[in-house]
């Protein structure tokens, strides 16, 4: 379509992308290079002179035991977020689209509702709901003879709770995207398998999952990349990374280094490493997709 365009046309193309491209150049590409540059210096955003330190920020980072704690936390966040916002919505999408079929729209609408609410509001609400003394969950636990722990002071648990708060917001979005993918699987394939008396869980694993995997992989990646950034808000609002860095992750730590400790060098090094990890994920996605994942359209 629309081949053989003339030179004027080319120019128009460039003019139309110019506004977006300039914003991205000034506030995305240039800063990216500058962060790489800053990662080789010791600086505090105020001093007139930056001190060149070579790879010292990176070396320090990998020698600091705290780094491994934060990477461990990050992996913890990723696993919980994936369980709640990738596996769970995948299974439920399958259930809703293949097994029960009724009430699809109402569930979709309700699940999606928290996605439009600010995570600061979400943090505020959950801080009360999960208050270990006077929150409704603690009260119900008490009625059942259980004690609700002081989660914000307990390593491990704090990470689970902050993931839960974030999942409240993320689940619905992931659900409707995966649901669209699962609904796109040809009905004939599923019906044929049913006639073969294949059990439902086999239909899910052998047919629906592979045939919707392009969408699935997208959600998988977005859950990690966006999820870790979404968790930033409850961390900042509720725990500031504490107790003893138990709720910090790689995103929050970059922020903490830069704007609490004023160490732009180590913050930048941390950010760059985080980005490299995300890029590896992206490359994996392309590799995976090229390998002939079934495409919905």
């Amino acid at each position: 379509m629309l081949t053989a365009r003339n030179r004027k046309d080319k120019l128009i193309g460039y003019i139309l992308i110019l506004p977006s491209l300039s914003v991205f150049s000034v506030f995305m590409f240039w800063p990216l290079l500058r962060t790489v540059y800053l990662s080789f210096f010791e600086w505090n955003m105020v001093k007139p002179v930056k001190k060149f330190v070579g790879f010292a920020n990176y070396i320090d980072m990998f020698q600091d035991p705290l780094t491994y704690k934060i990477i461990g936390n990050t992996v913890g966040y990723i696993l919980i977020l994936l369980a709640l916002n990738f596996i769970a919505p995948y299974v439920l999408s399958f259930v809703l689209s293949v097994i029960i079929k009724k009430g699809q729209n109402i569930y979709k609408k309700i699940f999606f509702l928290p996605s439009i609410i600010s995570l600061v509001v979400g943090s505020m609400l959950y801080l009360w709901i999960l208050n270990p003394v006077s929150g409704p969950v603690a009260i119900i636990a008490k009625m059942l003879g259980l004690t609700f722990p002081v989660w914000s002071k307990s390593e491990g648990l704090v990470l689970v709770v902050l993931s839960l708060i974030t999942s409240w917001k993320v689940f619905g979005y992931n659900f409707i995207v995966i649901f669209a993918g699962v609904s796109g699987v040809p009905k004939e394939a599923i019906e044929a398998a049913k006639l073969d008396n294949l059990p439902m869980w086999r239909i899910f694993i052998d047919i629906v999952f592979p045939m919707s995997s392009a969408t699935g992989f997208y959600v998988f990646i977005i859950t990690i990349v966006q999820g870790l950034q979404y968790v930033f808000t409850p961390i900042k609002v509720i725990t500031q990374g504490g107790p003893n860095y138990a709720s910090s992750n790689m995103i929050y730590n970059s922020y903490h280094e830069a704007f609490t400790l004023f160490r732009t060098g180590s913050s930048s090094a941390f950010s760059i490493v985080t980005m490299v990890l995300f890029i590896i994920l992206l490359i994996l996605e392309f590799k995976f997709v090229e390998k002939g994942v079934y495409y919905e359209n």
Binding site: P19, L32, L92, I99, K109, M124, I129, V177
Partner: protein, 274 residues
Amino acid sequence: MKTRRNEIKWHLLLAVIAFLMIIPIVFAISNSFKTLPDAYSNILNIIPENPTFDNYLQVFNQLPFWHITMNTFLIATAVTVFKTITSFLAAYAFVYCEFKGKNIIYFILISTMFIPFTVTMIPNYLTISALGLGDSLLGVILPQLGDALGIFLLRQSMRSIPGSLVEAVYLENAGHARIMGDIILPLTRPAVVSTGIIFFINSWNEYVWPVLILKSQSNYTLSLALQTYVSQEGGTEFTVAMAVSVMTMLPPLMLYVIFQKYIIDTFSMSGVKG
């Protein structure tokens, strides 16, 4: 028979999840109309004992609330208008214009969705400060005038327009302005509207960037104002905080109730690649 019972079990599970999604919002609304003693003694009661507007009145006493709401609104509106325009123009170019490097530029722009904000945070903070825009609404708005997701979503919706429609007008030797205005814009209006709504809601809720830029209370947005009420113990301002929460939720909730079908359809599309 067995399958029926199975279905009921699944419905039960889905209903529980739906309940968990909604209940925090219900509690927030309920607490915002309670008196403080009522909120602390009848925790599980959804219906307030002596319903009161006091918390809402308190908000206006404690905060320059109109001002803060206007700040949030101004930022969200400016960001939405600019992002929608720049995304629409770029999406059009990527679908209907031929130019060198088109695919690679598109690929690079879309890849930025996977760059964590921490990578650009320090330089952008320095840029905004150098421009003298620290602690100003403009400083929040400026870095957000373009959007990769917007380009992606609008490009998707333009690609679904049958080529024959565009070709017919093109053969009449119509310019791009006419193709864009007479054909593409009317046909993609639902996608443009919902992309705009998504931009507005996201900007309204935004926290990370404003918290770096805005320092004085009179420049705060709602999320920043709400944050000042956070306290681990609950605190004496708890019901007032709930009122602020409800008012922060209200505009996105209203938009969602009105445009839910548009919003859900557009978001469903964001996972489908092409």
